[in-house]
């Protein structure tokens, strides 16, 4: 390559003749940012960012779960009445010493045995399961249909979205009171259908199933708002081209919904299914808000007609049966865990991310 030195010469000539402002840039070496004395490790940065969340999670979630778990094995524990400390962990520490209150049978499964043998607990499980099985699928299907309809209209979309979202920002006790009035003897439901029937008051002729109907309507309606919101945001992420493609492929609206929209919305449907099941298993407010006679009235003449599992827990606490309340909570936890696990396993095949 005889021409190489020539080229170099040309370049140096250019540098010499023209005063390029880049001259100092090229000769000055890499510019450095001031070096810190030490580098904070990544885990510490992560920890600092996590502290606020961890603080509250530990105090209000993790500690209570552990505490409840331990309490469920403590018989005759009642810190309200004066026996034991409210910190279950301390009780457990005491229980390690053999002479503690002279009761070596301190740890036992007695609470679980008692709870499962309790007919009102079995009843509360059946009640809760009924509500879950009926209201959850209903809400999901209705909210999905409403979301798809809302998504396809242009006029008044914002207005209807607001209307459907209103229940979400309304207090559920207040909603319950409104439903109570609506389904009362002189209420609008009766006048609309020309009926003369008391839906909620057992003493005035309400049956178990009339109460269940109102509970279902209330739960479905109350649950719509959030689900519609989630489905609408899910629909917004579906590429419009899939619909164009399906249209060109000649698919009908129903077919597009069943074979394109629903599968593409499956992550949202899974999320909503799991959270709705969990939420429905924790039902309590919906029932007591409807009957409106205070925290332990679940309808019926005995006030226990539609007692839920959470309701059972509260009643046990009211009766200072903390151990049983804890055991019932743990049973509920295991139940929800099992169902969620099944859902996740099923979804592995059905959900398309």
């Amino acid at each position: 390559m005889t021409d190489k030195p020539n080229l170099n010469e040309q370049y140096t000539e250019v540098e010499a003749t023209e005063d390029l402002s880049l001259g100092s840039y090229v000769s000055g070496g890499t510019l450095q940012v001031a070096k810190p004395k030490w580098y904070m490790p990544e885990w510490l940065k992560a920890l600092i960012a996590l502290i606020p969340a961890l603080f509250f999670l530990i105090i209000f979630m993790i500690y209570p779960i552990i505490n409840t778990f331990l309490l469920s094995f403590l018989e005759d524990f009642n810190w309200v009445g004066g026996s034991g400390s409210s910190f279950a962990i301390i009780n457990w520490a005491y229980s390690l010493s053999p002479d503690f209150r002279g009761n070596p049978a301190f740890w036992s499964f007695n609470n679980y045995v008692n709870v499962i043998a309790d007919p009102s607990f079995i009843n509360s499980i059946i009640n809760t399961a009924l509500m879950v099985v009926v209201s959850v699928p209903l809400t999901i299907v209705i909210s999905l249909l409403i979301a798809v309809c809302l998504n396809s209209i242009k006029v008044l979309q914002g207005f209807f979205q607001t209307v459907f979202f209103l229940p979400y920002v309304t207090n559920s006790i207040a909603l319950g009171m409104v439903f109570n009035v609506m389904f009362s003897k002189g209420g609008p439901i009766n006048s609309a259908f020309g009926l003369d029937f008391n839906w909620l008051l057992a003493a005035a002729g309400a049956t178990r199933w009339s109460m269940f109907l109102v509970i279902t309507v209330y739960s479905v309606w109350n649950g719509l708002a959030f689900k519609i919101l989630v489905f609408m945001s899910g629909l917004a992420t579906i590429d419009k081209q899939y619909y164009d493609a399906a249209r060109i492929d000649g698919a009908s609206k129903v077919k597009i919904f069943a074979r394109i929209t629903v599968p593409l919305l499956s992550p949202q449907i899974l999320y909503i299914t799991i959270t709705s099941f969990i939420g429905a298993f924790k039902a309590y407010t919906s029932v007591i808000a409807l009957f409106g006679n205070g925290a332990y009235d679940f309808g019926g003449t005995g006030g226990k007609e539609w007692m839920t599992v959470v309701g059972y827990v509260y009643i046990m606490m009211q009766r200072a049966q903390i151990g049983r309340a804890a055991a019932a909570s743990i049973v509920l936890l295991l139940l929800i865990l099992a169902i969620t696990l099944v859902q996740t396993l099923v979804s592995k095949k059905r959900v398309h991310y």
Partner: protein
């Protein structure tokens, strides 16, 4: 199926801002069984045109015919078209087989399972994706997805196949391969095919005919080589060809074309003056508030210009090296080696253009290597008015 477009216009209205005219009064005919490229820079309305042919966009004005049948108001599913979207729009939850057979599920009378399976296999064979029938789209490469999209569009045996920027999501090597595939598939099936692209090389290489568009207006229609050789205006000349055509400022004086004071050519065409028609609004009577009364009136003022600045376009490959007597002197900056050819990047004294490109065969490398200035003769050049119309 011949596709005929007559006076097609599409205006998009929005609540905010003015109406946007994406396609303006467009007419052309796509002959039966041809592969046609709609070519233009982004935002020129080429995709809008395609979607109007597909029926997904409704034209504001104008008519579309498939053969003798007018389809302007026929919904897309009844037009007998297949559309391949830019990002393929393959259903992510279906397998390749399900994607290909989905359009067949909606055919009446219903096809049997065996028929669908047979079609799926035939389509997969045509686009060469047979081993992947049971995979999901995301398990395929971009090129394979592209071919599945074509297979899906073809499975209903459409009369017209439409492709929206079919190669823009592929890497350079795959792009070359796939464009040949598209040509092969189109040849094999004989389906009238329209595809949209902004890549002139892509359009030129496989199309039987190209339609060059700019700002919703058709600039030129024709066979690719003809459009390249005889651009109708400055825009087409600049848009086709890679590297791009070199444009110089020139001047017509007394019927002679000069570039940079050098006489390039005498031609009778340069003696013809340029007619400029100006529309001038005439003054009107005013009412008491000072507003003009009645409809505005105009007068057409014609001016003729003989001596005027013009643009001269020379394609990089149209230069002939002539170190002794070349008319155009190029100050060389550097030389690019492209293998078969070399290209000289340089400038011409007195020209505003920052650099020009000259492509010459690489055998001539030794003749230009150490030179600061090389001289060339233009073998072929185009002359345009400053407004863009071609003079010669």
């Amino acid at each position: 199926m011949e596709v005929r477009i007559e006076n097609l216009t599409k205006a998009f209205t929005s609540q905010k801002g003015p109406e946007v005219i994406a396609v303006n009064n467009m007419s052309f005919v796509i002959p039966d069984g041809k592969l046609v490229g709609l070519l233009g820079p982004s935002g020129c309305g080429k995709s809008t045109t395609l979607y109007m042919i597909a029926g997904l966009h409704k034209p504001t004005e104008g008519k579309i015919y498939f053969g003798d049948e007018e389809v302007t108001n026929v919904p897309p599913e009844h037009r007998g078209i297949g559309l391949v979207f830019q990002n393929y729009a393959l259903y992510p939850h279906f397998t390749v087989r399900q994607n290909i057979t989905f359009p067949l599920d909606n055919v009446r009378p219903k096809l049997s399972k065996q028929d669908k399976e047979a079609i799926a296999h035939e389509m997969a064979r045509i686009v060469d994706i047979e081993p992947y029938l049971d995979r999901k789209p995301k398990e395929l490469s971009g090129g394979q997805q592209q071919r599945v999209a074509i297979a899906r569009a073809l499975s209903k045996r459409p009369k017209v196949l439409l492709l929206d920027e079919p190669l823009s999501n592929l890497d350079a090597r795959l792009r070359l391969q796939t464009r040949e595939e598209i040509k092969r598939i189109q040849r094999e099936t004989g389906i009238t095919t329209v595809f949209v692209t902004h890549d002139q090389e892509e359009a030129m290489s496989i199309s039987d005919m190209i339609v060059v568009m700019k700002d919703g207006v058709v600039q030129q229609i024709g066979e690719p080589q003809h459009v390249y050789d005889e651009p109708a205006n400055l825009f087409v000349a600049k848009f086709l060809g890679s590297p791009a055509i070199n444009i110089f400022d020139g001047e017509i004086k007394n019927g002679v074309l000069y570039v940079d004071g050098v006489e390039l050519e005498k031609n009778a065409l340069y003696k013809k003056p340029r007619r400029i028609e100006d529309k001038i609004e005439l003054p009107r009577e005013l009412d008491e508030k000072g507003n003009p009364i009645g409809e505005p009136k105009y007068e057409i003022k014609v001016t003729e210009k003989h001596d005027r600045p013009v643009k001269v376009g020379i394609r990089p490959e149209a230069f002939r090296l002539n170190q002794e007597a070349g008319l155009i002197s190029v100050k060389q900056h550097y030389i690019e080696h492209i293998g078969r050819d070399i290209s000289i990047v340089g400038e011409i004294a007195g020209q505003n253009a920052s650099h020009i490109k000259v492509i010459i065969p690489s055998e001539l490398r030794v003749k230009v290597l150490d030179k600061e200035v090389s001289k060339f003769e233009p073998a072929r050049f185009y002359v345009f008015e400053e407004s863009g119309e071609r003079i010669k």
